[in-house]
Structures are given as structure tokens and as C-alpha cells.
Subunit: 346 residues, 2 copies
């Protein structure tokens, strides 16, 4: 947990892997930019720290920048006693979630076969989900990648849930153009809502080619380096129909908003990648997104069980498939400080 403390005692928090916000990163890059600064000067702090990334030889990751920005927004919301989506300027009170199914596996009763996907999707619909996204099999799973098996899983899910559930595919990320086109055409037949990252995103031209050859919306980029600047190139290059960004790769709430604004100015939606309190707050503030990504989900896991460091999950879903805006100040994470204190290491 990254904690930013203001002089007046207000605090902001962000959870991130200790590999990402390890002490050397905090000491070398974050602390010098934060100590002595006005915590409400988020843009100046962010710009200053971002410019340290290039010289950091990869040590200052986008995720670390995200964690810092997230903690600053959380601090602002907590200090002002205001949920962050209302601090940004709210757009909605609730948003439909898509159940984001984990990658395929070889576990009995898990996600080993197309029928496993179909059965689990049916189960998700019974819980209230109105939209479902599949992640399919990737190496080292036996037989993966296999475009035909991906399509089989998608067909099994469509058959299981009927025509009224929105479906998306986010499968193997290194298909060639032909395989991606084959899958995309099949998804059109299956009335899928979007097709996500079937190829390496470094080849933007491949995405422009794919988007031009498919009627199903292609969404991206998600994992390509370069934050909102890369997204601007994708817009100019007509490389996708829907932009994509989120707290994991954008570098913070500020950059997610910049990407959403870039998309809106260009008549495009921008869907938010990933779950968690910050992405949820962004979904409540961004006009041109449609879904919240709830997951990852697996038949053997209980997503609704909070992790030990939280008293409650930030994104409970109602029976109609909606996740509601948090009313808590800041990003709305209900943190179990007792647990964290008693399990802290030096």
C-alpha cells in the first residue's frame, strides 16, 4: 500500500505490488516529487514524475506512476469528504458490469473446454450479469493458441446465454492477421460486441488493417507503451473503433481522463480496462464508456470475498448487473487498517 500523507494529516492510499512500488522506487522517484509539494497540484506532480521515467531504465513503471496518482486523488477526495467521481464531475451513478472470465485452463470443472465457458457464462447470467467477456486459452495451456477453439468457446457461450447478453472476446494476443480476421468474422456471426487485442499491439498497422476488414468494433490499445500519446496515434491511424485505457497502464486517473477526452473529441468510446476502486470511479465520471470490467472470474473463485486488506470489495454488483458509485470519500476503498498495521513489515 502506497500512502501519501499531507501536512494537514490527510492521507491517500493506493494498492500495488511491492515489486512495483518498492522502496528504491519510492525513495528515488516519488518521494522527491511529493515532499514539499501541494498535494492538490496533481498535474504538476504527475508531469514531473513522468519525465523521470525515461531516465529510470524501466525502474519507474507506469504502474508506479498510476499508484502515485491514485493515492493523490484518493487523498483529495478524503480531504474534501467527496467521492472521487464527484470530484472529477460525475456522469452516472451506476454502470453495467461485464463479467470478465479468466483465461482458459486445464482444471476439471474450471475453464478447460468450450462447454466449461458456456456453463460458467450461464451461471454468471443467473447472478445478474448482462455482459460477459471471455479470455481464452494461452500458452502454456495444451493446444493453445487455437483460433478454432477460441471460436468454439465463444459459440458455446452465445448458445448458453442466448441473444440478449453482450459478449466480448479478449483471447490470445499474438495471432497473425489471418487468424485474427478469421476469429473476428466468427464473432460477427455470433453478434459479439467487441474484439480485443488479438495481435501484438506494437503492430498498429495490423490493427488498422483488421479494423478496416471487420464490422465488429476492434478495441485497443490496452498494453502498448505510451499512455495517451499512443492512443492518439491509434486514433489518427484508424487502428481501432473503441479506445482502451485503465489504471494498470495509463499512469493514473489523470491520463485515463485524457484518453477518454481524446476519444470523445474523435467521436469514439473509450472503455476502461480492469477492475478496482479507481477504475470504477473513472467509469462513473467518463461519459463515453459503457461497461465496468468486473473480474477476473473463475468457477472456483469467489470474487465477492474481499481481500484481507479490505473490509469490503469496492464493486459489489446488484441483481440486475449494475455496479454502483461509491459514496465513500476518496476512491471508496474500505481499507482494513488494523489488518495492514498488524501485518506490516519494515
Amino acid at each position: 500500500m502506497l500512502t501519501v500523507v499531507a501536512e494537514d494529516g490527510h492521507e491517500g492510499y493506493a494498492f500495488q505490488s511491492p515489486d512495483v512500488i518498492r522502496p528504491s522506487v519510492v525513495d528515488k522517484y516519488l518521494r522527491p516529487a511529493l515532499v514539499g509539494e501541494d498535494a492538490f497540484y496533481r498535474e504538476r506532480i504527475w508531469q514531473n514524475v513522468e519525465q523521470r521515467q525515461r531516465g529510470s531504465s524501466g525502474q519507474l513503471a507506469d504502474k508506479a506512476l498510476s499508484a502515485m496518482d491514485q493515492a493523490l486523488w484518493d487523498l483529495a477526495g478524503r480531504a474534501l469528504n467527496l467521492p472521487v467521481h464527484r470530484l472529477i464531475g460525475g456522469f452516472r451513478d451506476k454502470i453495467a458490469a461485464y463479467g470478465s472470465i479468466m483465461c482458459g485452463d486445464d482444471i476439471p470443472g474450471g475453464l478447460a473446454t468450450p462447454d466449461d465457458y458456456g456453463n460458467f457464462a450461464q451461471e454468471l447470467v443467473s447472478r445478474g450479469y448482462t455482459a460477459i467477456k471471455l479470455h481464452t486459452w494461452m500458452p502454456p495451456m495444451p493446444g493453445a493458441p487455437d483460433p478454432r477453439n477460441d471460436v468454439r468457446a465463444c459459440a458455446a457461450v452465445r448458445k448458453a446465454v442466448g441473444p440478449d447478453i453482450a459478449l466480448m472476446l479478449d483471447g490470445y494476443h499474438w495471432y497473425n492477421r489471418s487468424d485474427a480476421l478469421y476469429i473476428g468474422k466468427a464473432l460477427e456471426e455470433l453478434d459479439f460486441l467487441w474484439f480485443e487485442e488479438p495481435m501484438d499491439e506494437a503492430s498498429m498497422s495490423s490493427y488498422a488493417w483488421l479494423s478496416a476488414n471487420l464490422s465488429i468494433p476492434v478495441i485497443g490499445p490496452e498494453s502498448m507503451q505510451g499512455k495517451y500519446r499512443t492512443r492518439a496515434e491509434w486514433v489518427r491511424g484508424n487502428a481501432s473503433d473503441i479506445l482502451r485505457t485503465g489504471m494498470l497502464s495509463a499512469g493514473g486517473l489523470g491520463p485515463v481522463l485524457k484518453t477518454a477526452h481524446l476519444a470523445e473529441a474523435n467521436g469514439m468510446n473509450c472503455e476502461i480496462h480492469g477492475n478496482g476502486a479507481a477504475n470504477l470511479a473513472l467509469c462513473m465520471a467518463v461519459a463515453n464508456c459503457v461497461y465496468y470490467e468486473r473480474g477476473l472470474l473463475h468457477p472456483h473463485l469467489d470474487y465477492d470475498q474481499p481481500p484481507l486488506y479490505l473490509n469490503a470489495i469496492p464493486d459489489p454488483m446488484d441483481g440486475e448487473g449494475f455496479v454502483h458509485a461509491s459514496q465513500l470519500p476518496g476512491l471508496g476503498e474500505d481499507i482494513n487498517f488494523d489488518y495492514i498495521r498488524s501485518h506490516a513489515i519494515d
Copy 2:
């Protein structure tokens, strides 16, 4: 003055011409979107009202939308006891102002000749300005428009202020391509910083042509309909080197931020058009702008004298040419409520 009152008694204000926020506009478009809403749901309110513009037959102007959004940001800042630039997330505490000289006239001792511009520019430098923008002669001034006279005024100013003052030109807006190119080449010789709106902005192709043929940065669009969406087209069309937006035409602080973000994602600056508390707050929050437009200025007018409805101007300048961020809650306008109350009409 447009006033938005929240249920808890907090208020936000925006000044705009009574022609723009006349009662029928407020009653028909603004009031229905605001009453019963959460005042912190700025994005939802804005999107709802903006969609009423098309059906309003021009009655719901961008300026009215701007005034509404401005009042909502002001309300949020006042309710949270926070200056708006820190609510957005601050980037700077002060910004260099350019003295924005009024259009040419035929008034003795005014702006009737190139030398008048030179003399006034010298006077502005002595007040602390480090940057100056000229508006030159427009019809119905005798002899206007005249590209050669525009260049003469620019040359007189450069000669008067020396090489270290940043200079910009924003002259007649309906030159043809040849005249615009002639002026632009002259501005390059005179080491001007940018060249603003020499042609009708509806001809985006003319701007792309001009930008391709000049090394001096071309800035725009400023007055073209379409808010951030038009700016996105200019980016895609390489129609300008610097984007431009501001409270007068953008439709509010939110859309100005969207345009600045669009520009930043595309590696461009976005300069803020116009003066006033809202534009100043935006200058303090936007990373990719360089100047605040202070003016319009004229030898016979005292810009530092507040209008009767304000106790102080929002943008006093220090001796080194900087305007500082307001520390007042909201947009920082120090409103003379007594004056307004005693001069209100039904």
C-alpha cells in the same frame, strides 16, 4: 450573472451577457437540466444540456453552456473551499501574461498607426509584460484590411520592444491564402511566436496549407463551431501547430480541459483564448499552455480598474509580467454582491 444554487445553500456564479443567458434560455434549457440534479455531476449535466443545442435553433449558445459549466465549477470550489485549479489538479502557481492589444482604430493617440502600436507596446513592456499580441485593423476602419499595414504594425512593435519580447499577431480573419502566407513569412522574419486566425476557420484545408508552408506556428481554431470535436479534426488534418480553445467558445471548463488533453496526447500545446477568472484557473491547471491572454488593452483604457460588479479584477499582474493563481475558493472572482443586489432588475 448566472447563479446556480445547491440545496445546501452553496452557490456558483458566472457572468455572461443577458443576451446569452436570457430568461427563456435559462428556463427552457438550463433550469430543467439543473433542478433536482447533483451539482457535482457536472459531466452528466453538461452532456444533457449540450444535446439540447441542436434542437434549440441556435438559441442555446456555446456561451450559455459555458456560463452554466462555469457556475457549476465555481459552486464546487466554493462548496469545498478550494480554488478551482486545485480542484482540477494544479499545474502552476503563476503564468506569464501576454498583453492582448485591441483591434486598430482611427482614434488620435489610440491605435491608428503602426507607430501607435509601437508606442503602446513599449508602454506595456514598461509595465512588465514579456509578451504582446496585436489585433490589427478590421473593417470598417479606413483602409482595412491591408496585409502590408498589418506587417508594418508588427515591425513597429518588434522595433519598439527589441528582440526579447514574445510577439503574436491576431489580425483580420478573412484573408485569402496568399495574403496569409505573405503576412506569415513577414512574421517569421520578425521572429513572432505564433500567427493566429488570418483566414476563415471553416476552410480547414487552408489552414493545413498555411501550416505546411510556414515555419512560424499557426494557432487555431478559435471561433469555429464544434468545440473539442472540431479541434480533433484540426489535429487529424494537421491544420495548426498549436490548438486553441477558451471559455468563450468551448462550452465550459470541462470542454477546455478535453481540448487541452487532446492536444497533449498529440504532442501539441493548447493555448487558452480570452481573459477572466475561468480562463485563468484553466491556465493554472493545464500543463501544455504557456500564456494567459490579458486584455484587451488600449492606450485609453485602464484594464486594472475592476468592473462595478467586482471588488477586484481576477488577474492582477506583477512587475515581471506574471499573473498568479487565485487563492479564493471557486473561480476566484471577488464579486460585489451589494452592487449587484442594488442594481438587479426583475
